[in-house]
Structure formats: C-alpha cells, structure tokens
Amino acid sequence: MLVEGKNICYSYAFGGFSFALRDVDLNIARGEFVAILGCNGSGKSTLVKHLNALLQLQQGELKVAQIDVRNEKEVWLLRRRCGMVFQNPDHQFVAPVVEEDIAFGLENYEVPRNEISGRVRSALARVEMSGYEKRAPNTLSGGQKQRVALAGVLALDPEIIIFDEATAMLDPDGRQEVIKIMEKLHRAGKTIIAITHYVEEAVAADKIILMHQGRVLACGSPQTVLTNLDLMKEAELIPPFPVRLYYDLQQAGIYLNRCPLTEEELVEEICQFKSKI
C-alpha cells in the first residue's frame, strides 16, 4: 500500500472537544485514483493535509510511501513524493512569473540550476501550457492557473498528487481542463487523490471514500457508493444526475436494467429498455 492509515483522529485547537477526524482508516494502492467525497465540514480536507504532513498527526498511524508522517526528518522528502494542488488558484503562487513559480519547488530540493529550465518546460508541456513560461499568473484563466500550479507539482515528479478541491472555484470549462489532465496523469500511472463534493467528479475514480462528520461512511467503487441512496443522504450529498433519474423512473414503474453512473450509460440503458418494449 502506498498510503496506509489507521485510527487517525484529529481535533482543531479551536474546535473545543469536537473531532474533525474520528478513527479514520485509509488504504490507497499505487496507481489508484481515489476520490474523497463529502459535504463541507466532513473532514475530507483535514484528512488529506495529513498525507503531506501539513497537519501533524495527533493520534493513530499514517505511512505514505513507506515514510512515517511523524518522522520530522523525512517530512521534507515526503512532500517531494506527494504533491498537492490547492483550492484557490490565486493563493498559491509564490512568484509573479509562471516559470519562476514552477521553479520554486525545484529550488527547494536543490535541483541543479542547469536542469531547472528544462524541467519547467517539460512540466508545462504535461499540463498543456507550453509557451506560457513568461506570463504572469494573474493574467491566466482559472483553469490555466490550476494547471500552472499542477505543473509546479509535476516538476518534482511526485508519485502521489492530491487535488484539494482544486476544481471548486472554476467555471465549467476550467473544471473540464483540470479533470482532463487529472485523468491523463492517472493513465500515466500516477496515484491521484481528489477531494471534492461534486459527485460527478467521483464517477471516474477507482475508489470512493465517502466522509461525513469526520468519519468514513463508506469506501468502495463508485457503483456501490454513488448508487446507494441512503448512504448519499446520510452524507448530505445529492446522487449523480443519472442515479437520481434511475430511481425516479423506478417510482414511475420503469425499471432500467442497472443503475447508470454516467450520461452515456444512462442513454445506453434507456435505449435498451426502449428496444424491449
């Protein structure tokens, strides 16, 4: 297992006695695409900030890429193997020029000066932003900003990439841009951990970890988690559009063969049903 967590508990200093995380177990294999799904305040962001030790583990155990997150000497190495893209594209730039910002991470790991510009260029190419080296981040669109932030992470070639609600503040086009790159990286063998409350973004994942009030409510394939109405209700989420439609059609006495998750699957099911009438 690339990520192995047991009984993780966490409470914020200002939170009184309430726990932000309660007995969370976490297992993620190399190359997996995991979506951590939950409403606001479910603890999903708190959980992933443990993976790169931005938050200190208070209770429980957590190993990421064989590194114990409590080992302060290795935290720095851990962060090289486990990169993170944040929610707000405007709040994560360190430099006023794209290439300088991407170089920031490389400089932190004392990558030799003569390698830097080559790695910056190839990172930009991987997020399909070649040619933007000299641009100022604040002149880019939301989706482009997130892709630059991602390039800053990719330049260090991490095994795990965490997207901490990285699409929440983008317009539909920007979201599509980021999701496309996310899927491409997954295909290239990266381990992807995406935090979101957009159920549609979790559909493509290998595994969904459903969180609510600091606990893991369920962990399983999109098919088992997203089509379970009681579970979704308990998590205070609304199921994907095709799932809702599937159940509402059942109410009207129309039983599709199986519960679809994507728009394409839905259309396929409907066509099949129609051909049988």
């Binding site: 606001n40 539909p172 409350h197 066509c271």
Partner: protein, 285 residues
C-alpha cells in the same frame, strides 16, 4: 424597481498599458420582481456588470436607469441608490468586521432613519430569515462562526436594508449540495415577496431551475437574453456543448440514438416527465 440598461460599456487599462473592454455595448431591461441569471465564462464581464448595476463603478459609456431615472446622473441620490440595491459579492464572509453579529448586521441601517427598536427588529428579522436563532447569535463574534455561518451573516447584513434589488455574484460557488439548495430556496422566497434578484452562476442546473430570465455574456458582449427556457433552447442550437444543462445533454444523446425528443427539455423535471411518457408508450405522463 425596473432597470433599464442602454449601450453600457466599460474599459480599463492593463499593466501593459493596453485597453481592455470588459463590457461592450450591452443593453437590456429587467422588470420589477424578476429573477435574472447572468451566465458566461470567467472573464466575460459578469462581475463588472454587477458592479455597474450597483452603481459601484462608472461606465465608460452608456446609461443605467432605475424606474426611468439615470443613476449616474449628477442629481441622483447616492444614499437612495445604496438603499435600493443590495450586493453580495463573492466570499462575502470576508466583509465582516464588527465585534458582534448584531452590530455587523446593523451596520447598514445607520443611515436608514429607523428607530433603535425598529433597527433591532430588522436585524432580528434578517438573521432569522437566514436561519439563525437571534438571541443565541446576536452577541457572538462573527469571526468565531464557521465559514458557512459567516456567509449567512454577511447576507443578513445586506437584506436587513430591505433592498428592492438583490444582486449576488457567484453565490453558490463552492457550496455543497445542501448549502446550494438552501440558498436557492431562500432567494426564491425573497423573489416571491417582490424583491428583484440578479445572480451570476456557473451552475447551469441552478440557473435553469430557478431563474425567470437569463443574460448570457461572452467576451464582454451580451450574446443572448430572454426567458430562461427559451435562452437555453436557443443556446443549445447556437453553441454546441457550452451552456448546456445535463438534461439537455442527455436529450441530445437520446436524439442521436433515434429516441425522442422534444427540444423543450431543459430541466431535470422536463427530462423525467418526457422519459416517463416515452418509456410507458405514451400512456401515463
């Protein structure tokens, strides 16, 4: 309060010294009690338009009339304008500043001429409308609240002035499904009591289900305007892909598979009832 916009344009200078036209020659009318959605990609001029509508920026050219009076004319009373229009920008939680929730919400009532008692009643009403227990929350520091609560306090501070026009910039961005539903319910109620609502959003479903009229901006130009349903239907034909609801996308896919459908499917409800009809052989609806 009816709003009339005539040939509105707004330009500003970029770092390179080049001029950017954020809005180009936009004209439209909004009737009293309407619920208007504004859509368009980031950078299409939505926020600028809202700022102009609230009288917070001066247009480069063009005019804005409220009930026939031009709001940027010399004699127009600024206080009256502020009283008429309430604006909730993105991240409204970052406008709170007072030591207690009550004081913060009452901030906008200073110039209103209300008596002390009336002002307190108004603050109570606003906080209760936003789902708070007034007695419990009034003496709390706004900074100690959760993000979602702060946002609701900020909105309470705007509705406490009972503006005739309520403007929201991306109010549901970043909200989870229940937060989104609650907010949209709340705005609909305000709209039903006669408040004109103007709201930008990237969420096609929310716009399709809740708004009455739509304005569509692209690169600073108004590319379509009209009744929500009609605009969505027109946009489907003009711009393949962008500006579509999920129900529309599915309807198109079904049509490609030689199955149904009326081009009028825009919302979830439309799709559901159309499907029911289609799949039960046109019997029950």
């Amino acid at each position: 309060m009816s709003i009339q916009i005539e040939n509105l344009s707004f330009s500003y200078l970029q770092p390179s010294g080049e001029k950017v036209d954020a809005l180009k020659n936009v004209s439209f009318t909004i009737e009293t009690g309407d619920f208007v959605g504004i859509m368009g990609p980031t950078g299409s001029g939505k926020t600028t338009l809202l700022q102009l509508l609230a009288g917070l920026r001066l247009p480069t050219s063009g005019r804005i009339y409220f009930n026939g009076e031009e709001i940027n004319a010399k004699g127009y009373d600024r206080n009256r304008l502020r009283q008429t229009v309430g604006v909730v920008f993105q991240d409204p939680e970052y406008q709170l500043f007072a030591t207690t929730v009550e004081k913060d919400v009452a901030f906008g009532l200073k110039e209103s001429g209300l008596s002390r008692q009336e002002a307190t009643d108004r603050v109570r009403w606003a906080l209760e409308t936003m789902g708070f227990d007034f007695e419990k929350v009034r003496n709390q520091s706004p900074l100690a609240l959760s993000g979602g609560e702060k946002r609701r306090v900020a909105i309470a501070g705007v509705i406490a002035r009972k503006p005739e026009i309520l403007i929201f910039d991306e109010p549901i961005a970043g909200l989870d499904p229940f937060g989104r539903e609650n907010f949209l319910q709340f705005v609909t109620e305000r709209n039903q009591t006669g408040t004109t609502i103007i709201m930008t959003s990237h969420n096609m479903e929310a716009l399709a289900e809740y708004t009455k009229h739509l304005l569509v901006l692209k690169e600073g130009r108004l590319i379509d305007a009209g009744a929500t349903r009609e605009v969505f239907t027109r946009l489907k034909q003009r711009y393949n892909g962008a500006f579509q609801t999920k129900a529309q996308r599915i309807a198109i896919l079904l049509a490609e598979g030689k199955l149904m459908f009326s081009p009028a499917v825009v919302t979830y409800g439309d799709l559901l009832s159309a499907l029911k009809q289609e799949l039960t052989g046109g019997g029950r609806g």
